[in-house]
Symmetry: C2
Subunit: 312 residues, 2 copies
């Protein structure tokens, strides 16, 4: 059985604050049509793909931002994507802001869904590693209020059998944390879909610019792929959103760690790569055969402590 999938990485250019979700979805549908013409069977869209990256704005009453969140997925606004998915037989990954009513509480997550080639949601992920801060920070050149707008995800890092492979998801800052990939690799993950929005400037160190930010993005994604013998598609929302630049640099990475495809622009752009999921096997059975080589008895600090405990 061939397990070759042609993957489309559907980078989005900027979504201005005034742009409607319907407009963003129309742009994504156009990218999915292009993916279909190019023979793709799976497409990865960015994190928070329906709106501007609103955590950069501080608003005292978060309910003012209710319009940024989705109460269900699919919903009337995003349904065209799911219909195209079923029509073309293209699975996809989509990042969005989730508002959930659970246990009698209103909860907010930075989430994504995995959709199979019949347009059916097979899994949902809620971002675990929220970067930034939870309160307005006057010291920063701009805000990064993910800890204000979202709770940390409560699902961990599940994987799903779908489309003849084992798929996992994560979001943006998750890619910098090796635990993200490892927990999925311990479940045999073969393909990780990952959307991101990364400012081109470090809000706490203005001299750190776009090329260094892309270097860090590449480094963590490529290492995550290699060390865990998995494909990773890391897809950006890029470009200048109302004066706030985001890096592009979307990439699709082989389990060897090599970049198979890379976005050249900061606009809506489809990159593609042929991914044979069987290419993960050699690494999983040799140098990264976890059962033979890992030594969890020496890893206990990774779960037994959160922060640093300095030596005496």
């Amino acid at each position: 059985m061939s397990r070759v999938i042609k993957v489309g990485g559907a980078q989005l250019g900027p979504i201005q604050r005034a742009e409607s979700k319907e407009s963003a979805v129309a742009r994504m549908v156009a990218l999915m049509e292009q993916a279909h013409r190019e023979g793709c069977t799976f497409v990865v869209f960015p994190e928070l793909a329906l709106t501007t990256f609103f955590p950069r704005y501080y608003v005292e009453d978060p309910t003012e931002f209710a319009k940024f969140y989705e109460r269900e997925m699919p919903n009337p606004v995003t349904r065209p994507l799911f219909e195209k998915s079923a029509e073309y037989g293209i699975g996809f990954y989509l990042g969005f802001a989730e508002l959930a009513e659970e246990d009698g509480k209103t909860r907010h997550f930075n989430s994504s869904v995995l959709v199979d080639q019949s347009g059916r949601v097979v899994g949902k992920y809620r971002k675990v590693h929220l970067p930034g801060h939870g309160e307005f920070d006057p010291e920063r050149s701009f805000q990064h209020l993910e800890k204000y707008y979202f709770e940390p995800g409560d699902y961990g890092f599940p994987v799903w059998r779908s489309m003849d492979g084992i798929f996992g998801m994560c979001l943006c800052n998750d890619r910098r944390w090796p635990e993200t990939y490892r927990v999925m690799a311990l479940q045999g993950v073969e393909f990780i879909a990952l959307g991101y929005n990364t400012p081109s400037v470090n809000s706490q160190r203005p001299e750190e610019r776009g090329d260094e930010r892309i270097f860090h993005s590449d480094l963590t994604v490529q290492a995550g792929a290699y060390q865990n013998a998995t494909f990773v598609a890391a897809i950006a929302k890029a470009g200048n959103e109302d004066g706030n630049p985001l890096i592009g640099g979307s990439i699709i990475v082989h389990p060897s760690g090599r970049v198979l495809a890379r976005a050249e622009t900061e606009e809506d752009e489809l990159i593609t790569a042929v991914c044979d999921l069987d290419d993960t096997i050699f690494y999983k059975q040799t140098i990264f055969d976890f059962a033979r080589h890992r030594r969890p008895e020496h890893y206990t600090r990774i779960v037994e402590q959160t922060g640093v405990i300095l030596p005496d």
Copy 2:
């Protein structure tokens, strides 16, 4: 207080099987003298720096290899290194094969020592992640019998306060495992010394050659440095040992993940980099502030299972 150290990475060219340990030590003393002339205060030598990489040879009676192991450190053969260390005020890291009599048993480890600027051993490390195999494998183009010649290390990944910083150690294949760096980073590590011997050819896949092997070495070391906000000096024994080529590619890496210095040859070669241990602080206090951002409740698989557990 300045915490700037000038680090020397003392790559070694090949050590043929017939070469004596005294000769290898003399080569290392020459590199330490060069490091002294260039103003270094810390030098990193490779893994198994006193001998050829003997795990490539299968011998049924391991006692025949007793001469490759050290029963104490320092010992008469290595004493010149420790004397130079004290004379010059240069700390160092040295990899060697260790034979220990413990609990009434003879034990063998792939080990390293950390030596401070007075020539005193402040710590010992025993390699945790032994690659390769434990029995002769006729399918391989050459052997990689580390699991035959050594037990896995039993110390975990401790760190040491020394030379005004927090130092950690690991060895070769440890660098490919993100847990290695993470356990040390959870103890505040600022500088990791790492020696390696990496064959230039994958014994199970001949088409994987030196440039890909160096790419993987770089990728894992640079990601380990960045994701853990630490300096890493990864120093090779390189070149052709009795017909068996080893990659070079020794590097010293900044906590930004950037390579500060890189070896150009596969011979005895000193590379140097000025390392300000305070450069770790920005990353440790912002994007990699573990106490604020890590979510160990979702990492439990990392310690609760060794191998892969596939989903239903």
